[in-house]
């Protein structure tokens, strides 16, 4: 004989957990999961553009600070005077000028080595009037100190000319600002795309929750109450999406920082380091990325609330 023993689950009849208010808009739906994915991708892209803008802005500040603190004195062998004497004299004048941290003359060999990439190695440079370079580090970049240095050189070492790289620094700055502006525009576009996606998702959720909205109206729920429920629903979805997006962006920048330090010794490492610094965000950068995530989460809730309120006005 076959005996079938059926056990009816009693868990459903147990006393409910009274301490919480269950969300009135069901949390798990296909549209909800799709929105989490969209928000995650958009947040990741927003974080990438924001992070890239921060990296370039920081690197640009470092470039300009470095470039402006360093000036070059060029001594051309145009007279019959001994070039070594002229270089030593110009270096002494520069070293004594106010605001100068150091003045390091390049030796004849150093100067010739600078020409090797263009003229090739093994050439007899003694036949060429190779100008000599003195690299001067300023304590701080100041137009006044530079003017004094220029005056001192004109007075005491007239064979030397001063190049302060300001044009180069200005071009670098302009390029960096252009990159930051582009990243900001991309960031704005991502946010607009995100807001549009939230709008579609909210209207989709409202259409999917038409029955719930109707019942809430019939039991005397005010528009603000219903909008609050939708806001809470979308803020939760937005938070989940933003958390995934920000985490992915953190992983990306941490990975990029590890890779760039690994590449630092490779031939291309210098160029990457020059463009993005060490390709690593500092603490402020990571806080900014987290702020982007928090803003996305709040934006998702706020936008859905305003859309729901607007639609409810038409509905009643």
């Amino acid at each position: 004989m076959i005996e079938i023993v059926a056990e009816i689950p009693r868990a459903k009849n147990a006393l409910p957990a009274f301490s919480r208010n269950v969300p009135l808009i069901p949390a798990n739906s296909v549209a909800g999961r799709a929105l989490v994915v969209v928000v995650a991708i958009m947040t990741f892209l927003a974080c990438l553009t924001a992070g890239a803008a921060l990296l370039v802005a920081k690197a640009s500040q470092e470039w300009r600070s470095d470039v402006l603190r360093e000036v070059t004195i060029q001594v051309k062998p145009l007279t019959n005077d001994d070039i070594e004497t002229l270089v030593a004299k110009a270096a002494t004048v520069a070293a004594q000028a106010p605001g100068v941290a150091s003045a390091r003359p390049y030796s004849k060999t150093d100067s010739e080595r600078l020409l090797e990439p263009w003229l090739g190695a093994g050439l007899d440079f003694s036949l060429l009037p190779v100008p000599r370079i003195i690299v001067v580090r300023m304590r701080e970049s100041s137009a006044e100190n530079l003017a004094r240095l220029r005056e001192a050189l004109a007075r005491d070492a007239p064979e030397a000319s001063l190049d302060d790289h300001r044009i180069w620094a200005a071009r670098l700055g302009m390029m960096a600002r252009a990159i930051v502006a582009l990243a900001t525009a991309l960031f704005a576009l991502v946010i607009v795309a995100l807001a549009t996606a939230i709008g579609f998702a909210t209207r989709g959720a409202m259409a999917g929750s038409k029955e719930i909205v109707e019942i809430l109206h019939f039991v005397g729920a005010a528009d603000a109450f219903i909008a609050n429920e939708f806001q809470a629903h979308f803020r939760r979805l937005g938070f989940r999406g933003a958390l995934i997006g920000v985490s992915a962006a953190f992983a990306f920048f941490l990975g990029a920082a590890a890779l760039s330090s690994w590449w630092a010794n490779s031939p291309g490492g210098d160029e990457i380091a020059a463009m993005f610094g060490a390709f690593s965000l500092d603490g402020v950068g990571y806080v900014a990325l987290a702020a982007v995530g928090a803003a996305v989460s709040l934006l998702t809730g706020y936008l859905s609330r305003s859309i729901v309120l607007k639609d409810l006005q038409k509905l009643q």
């Binding site: 459903k12 009849n13 147990a14 006393l15 409910p16 009274f18 301490s19 919480r20 208010n21 269950v22 009135l24 069901p26 029955e211 719930i212 109707e214 019942i215 809430l216 109206h217 019939f218 039991v219 005397g220 729920a221 005010a222 528009d223 109450f225 409810l312 006005q313 009643q316």
Partner: protein
């Protein structure tokens, strides 16, 4: 008052009646006569295409959204198809009108539990409506309508899904509510059931019009 959907014929027309406070009436008529439409007009979920509805002394056409919400809190509605939210428990469904007013869960817990026990759902509080029987859903829907102690109760075929015994018990529940001061309108086409409550006024819907028969005292 009259109502038509789109450019179709008028579903109900030339209606002129009132529901007195603390009154008890059946709304009856054949299927498709417009009973549910009339209840929805009284709930203000439909607006008449001509004429006016005055409810609790206010013209429904002049109500702002917030005033409409305040009025609906004075009305309890039992839908024919229950309209319970499946993702909430029975307890949460019944508590919904109170939650919608912004009250904290702790302030209404006892009331909801007592009412659920009163309608015989004390041991089904945590159950989802998806596992409730037709009769249990009906009682949960009634409890949700009663929890706000409405001044006007509208019930659409509240006994349509239950056996005759339970139907009588539910009707007695409505009568009890009427005695406590609520105006009750019950839509039904169960003549046998109406005959058991002969004191009730009958509003008979047919051909889009309402004929009124007063109850026997």
């Amino acid at each position: 008052m009259g109502l038509r959907y789109g450019i179709g014929p008028e579903i109900v027309r030339d209606l002129n009646f009132s529901i007195a406070p603390r009154s008890f009436q059946f709304l009856t008529g054949p299927s498709g006569a417009g009973k549910t439409t009339l209840l929805r007009l009284m709930l203000l979920s439909l607006r008449p295409t001509r004429g006016t509805i005055r409810i609790f002394g206010q013209n429904s056409a002049e109500l702002r959204n917030d005033e409409l919400t305040a009025l609906r809190r004075r009305i309890g509605m039992v839908f024919q198809d229950f309209r319970l939210l499946d993702h909430l428990t029975t307890y949460e469904n019944v508590a919904l009108p109170l939650r919608a007013t912004g009250r904290g869960e702790g302030t209404y817990r006892t009331e909801v539990i007592e009412l659920l026990k009163w309608v015989g759902l004390g041991d089904r509080m945590a159950a989802s409506p998806t596992v409730l029987s037709g009769g249990e859903k009906q009682r949960a829907a009634i409890a949700r309508a009663l929890i706000v102690r409405p001044e006007l109760l509208l019930a659409d075929e509240p006994t349509g899904n239950v056996d005759p015994g339970l139907a009588r018990r539910l009707l007695r529940l409505f009568v009890e509510l009427h005695r406590l001061g609520t105006a009750v309108v019950i839509a039904t086409h169960d003549l046998h059931l109406m005959d058991q409550f002969s004191f009730a006024r009958r509003l008979v819907v047919g051909d889009g019009r309402v004929t009124i028969y007063d109850g026997v005292s």
